[in-house]
């Protein structure tokens, strides 16, 4: 049986700086051993453990979509030891990767439904995977209307700017970008994400809301969605906890009796409400 | 003369009733023979739980930091010395405390008793003034308390509280003429390689549970050096080099603060002789800088001060 602790070797093909504070970079990784690529099957919402040997390992949501084979993308915010080590790497560097880990967005439940995707700050990574997956030409018809509401503190901190430009131009997708504080060139909305949701007021009919963002945004977003009529069963969240093993053994990422690394990271609000636990 | 436990209860009750404190930290009966356990009392009727005996071995000063409320604390001589260190280091305010000082005859080291009975379990222990009546499944033995005190108690010269707001019971006569550094001297007399071997033998037992650190009233760094992720000073395993450095640096950090209460030693589940290090440092601080921790509120802590003629023969 395969040893689940051994990382695969990935090459950093491209590293781009996402934000003007240079604290967030997106890494495009390719498999060093192509045979390993074919057995790496993932869906939006899943994560991996990335390693810089000698520095350690940390979990990252997959930001690319399985509909674009060849590379895996990860967006990394420089906060701790490992993310700093990743940021110090140059293109061509070899990075360890274990995965895919965790569950994915409930794509089967999403089928035929309208989807409201709400993201904040740096937490748009697996949401990007989801958007790309839905927009893929073979998949698009399986889903209803798609609305994306994404905000950051200021324009310079928004991720994936070029892609958002393309998405804004598409007829089959509604995109609302917002910032807390605008600058001169800003053409989008101004205001925190929960307020923009109120303003856009997406209909809860036949719809799922998918939320991913900093704790403070989640805290104020959930009541808004509730008011709009999204029931907890159709409010989907992606959770983050400190993780080590990623395979439900090391014992730290539990919310109640569920390990976020195995039963999650994707939960409906209804599931979370049932799990009494710290998060 | 009324019993010490009763006097502690009465005092605690009065303090809570008169709202002079919000919380009493004392001891209550433990769940095992020869064990008492820290107890936190906030309501007058709960003061009945409070007790005093020769197994009140924990240093309750450990529970004082970070509290907002007014606290009444039951404190032995060594505990009051730790409290002084904490006051000096501005970790707790004197005004916030009501110190219920209890003169101490020394605390029982249950490991010594275990060793004496060679694994036979003590199921019941009755304490008298000088003796312990110990019962096992097939024996009853009476032993002298004095023979089974903690090492730190055997050499203690602060059996009476140094500061207090009320003293429970009579003062105990302090021992005269004990050499508190006998163990240190014995260790020093060995050749260097033997000393290193004996030190590493001790620390090789370490399981990095940090009970020593967490039991110590003065080990309160916001981030302990072993917990720092960047830089990670030492490895997290029980590698001998890493555990050696952990123990050396932790002991060093107690310089000028350690009152030899023995809390680290008592907490260690593996029986590591931690005092072998801290006692040496305590002596050096006394000899080099004429400072003894926790004996008054005035002296400036030795590592926050200096003298122009401090010894420097070791510097080239």
């Amino acid at each position: 049986m395969k040893n689940p602790y051994i990382p695969l070797a990935m090459r950093a093909e491209k590293i781009i700086i996402e934000t003007d504070d240079k604290n967030i970079k997106t890494f495009s990784l390719s498999f060093l051993n192509k045979a390993e690529e074919s057995s790496f099957n993932y869906l939006p919402g899943q994560f991996v453990q990335l390693s810089v040997l000698g520095e350690g390992e940390a979990p990252f949501g997959i930001a690319s979509s399985p509909t674009e084979p060849g590379v895996l993308e990860f967006t990394v915010n420089k906060t701790g030891v490992l993310t700093t080590a990743l940021h110090n790497l140059e293109e061509g560097a070899i990075i360890g990767m274990r995965g895919p880990l965790g569950n994915c967005f409930p794509l089967e439940l999403f089928t035929g439904k309208n989807i409201i995707i709400v993201g904040g700050g740096f937490a748009f990574t697996t949401l990007r995977s989801l958007v790309k997956y839905i927009l893929y030409h073979e998949n698009r018809s399986q889903f209803g209307n798609v609305t994306v509401i994404y905000g950051a503190r200021r324009p310079g901190l928004l991720l994936y700017k070029d892609e958002f430009k393309q998405w804004e131009a598409r007829p089959d997708l509604e995109v609302y970008l917002t910032v807390d504080k605008a600058d001169d060139g800003w053409r989008g909305k101004v205001g925190v994400v929960p307020n923009i949701i109120k303003e856009v007021a997406p209909s809860p009919e036949d719809a799922y809301a998918v939320v991913c963002g900093p704790p403070i945004m989640i805290k104020f977003t959930l009541p808004v969605l509730r008011q709009l009529g999204f029931p907890p069963e159709r409010t989907v969240l992606s959770m983050e906890m400190k993780m080590k093993c990623g395979i439900g053994k090391c014992g730290r990422c539990n919310i109640g009796n569920k390990y976020v690394c195995q039963a999650g990271p994707i939960f409906t609000l209804a599931q979370l409400n049932e799990l009494s636990g710290e998060y | 003369m009324p019993d010490t436990s009763v006097m502690i209860r009465d005092t605690a009750k009065k303090l809570l009733d008169e709202k002079r404190v919000d919380l009493i930290i004392g001891f209550e009966r433990g769940t095992l023979p020869l064990r008492s356990t820290p107890c936190f009392v906030r309501r007058s009727e709960e003061t009945e739980r409070l007790i005093w005996n020769a197994s009140c071995e924990n240093n309750l000063a450990r529970y004082l930091r970070g509290r907002k409320e007014k606290v009444g604390i039951v404190a032995k001589g060594c505990d009051t010395r730790s409290i002084i260190s904490l006051i000096k280091e501005k970790q707790v305010a004197r005004e916030q405390l009501f110190i219920i000082g209890v003169p101490c005859h020394g605390m029982i080291d249950r490991r010594k008793i275990e060793a004496r009975f060679d694994g036979k379990e003590i199921l019941e222990a009755d304490e008298e003034t000088e003796r312990l009546i110990l019962k096992g499944s097939d024996f009853t033995e009476i032993v002298n308390k004095a023979e089974f005190l903690h090492n730190s108690c055997n050499i203690c010269s602060y059996k009476n509280p140094v500061i207090y707001d009320i003293l429970i019971g009579d003062r105990v006569e302090e021992e005269q003429g004990i050499d508190e550094y006998e163990e240190v001297k014995e260790f020093e007399a060995q050749p260097a390689d033997k000393r290193w071997q004996s030190f590493t033998n001790e620390v090789s037992k370490c399981i990095r549970c940090y009970a020593c650190r967490n039991a110590c009233p003065l080990c309160y760094c916001q981030e302990c050096f072993v917990d720092s992720p960047q830089p990670q000073w030492i490895g997290k395993t029980t590698n001998l080099s890493d555990t050696s450095i952990f123990h050396i640096v932790r002991a060093f950090h107690t310089a000028g603060r350690c009152v030899d209460c023995g809390a680290c030693d008592r907490a260690c589940p593996m029986g590591i002789d931690i005092r072998k290090l801290t006692k040496k440092i305590e002596r050096d601080v006394k000899e080099l800088f004429h400072y003894q921790a926790g004996v008054n509120l005035e002296d400036v802590p030795p590592l926050a001060a200096f003298s122009l003629d401090d010894p420097q023969q070791f510097i080239r």
């Binding site: - | 290193w196 050096f225 080099s241 450095i245 290090l277 080099l288």
Partner: protein, 145 residues
């Protein structure tokens, strides 16, 4: 074996030098072309009091055969009293290390002023020879278990 002097072995010495005196002294040794053995790696620090015992022990753990901490002479500290505070700290540490049985001669303390280029060279020469005589570091070296 670690205990034997290995052929071709050269001692590695870490020297923590204060920026204001000892580092300038080292600089002056260079400018004055005073020769000394090349075994010492210098780490410049703001003041001798900056040095935590942890840095000294960590050096010994990770392969230094000797450590030197050097600062301004008493009375000369750029921060007025840093070296006095350091002196107390190192007095305790020095005694503790010896007490535990770590060989004398692994850890050194010195005062070297900015004017003492020659003395710096002599000091390093002496320390290098002392450490060389002791052989590779033993006690605290981290060996994989």
């Amino acid at each position: 074996m670690q205990d034997e002097k290995v052929d071709g072995w050269e001692p590695k010495i870490i020297a923590f030098l204060c920026n204001w005196c000892s580092y300038a002294g080292a600089d002056l040794a260079g400018v004055g072309r005073f020769q000394y053995p090349p075994n010492t790696r210098i780490i410049r620090v703001p003041c001798s009091s900056r040095i935590s015992p942890l840095l000294i022990l960590k050096s010994l753990q990770r392969g230094a055969d000797g450590v030197l901490v050097s600062g301004c002479h008493p009375g000369d500290c750029h921060y007025l009293s840093g070296n006095y505070v350091a002196r107390r700290k190192f007095a305790i540490l020095n005694n503790l290390l010896e007490y535990l049985g770590i060989e004398k001669g692994r850890v050194h303390f010195a005062w070297v002023s900015a004017a003492e280029g020659k003395r710096f060279a002599e000091l390093i020469t002496e320390i290098t020879e002392e450490v060389r005589a002791l052989g590779p570091a033993k006690e605290l070296v981290k060996k994989p278990d």
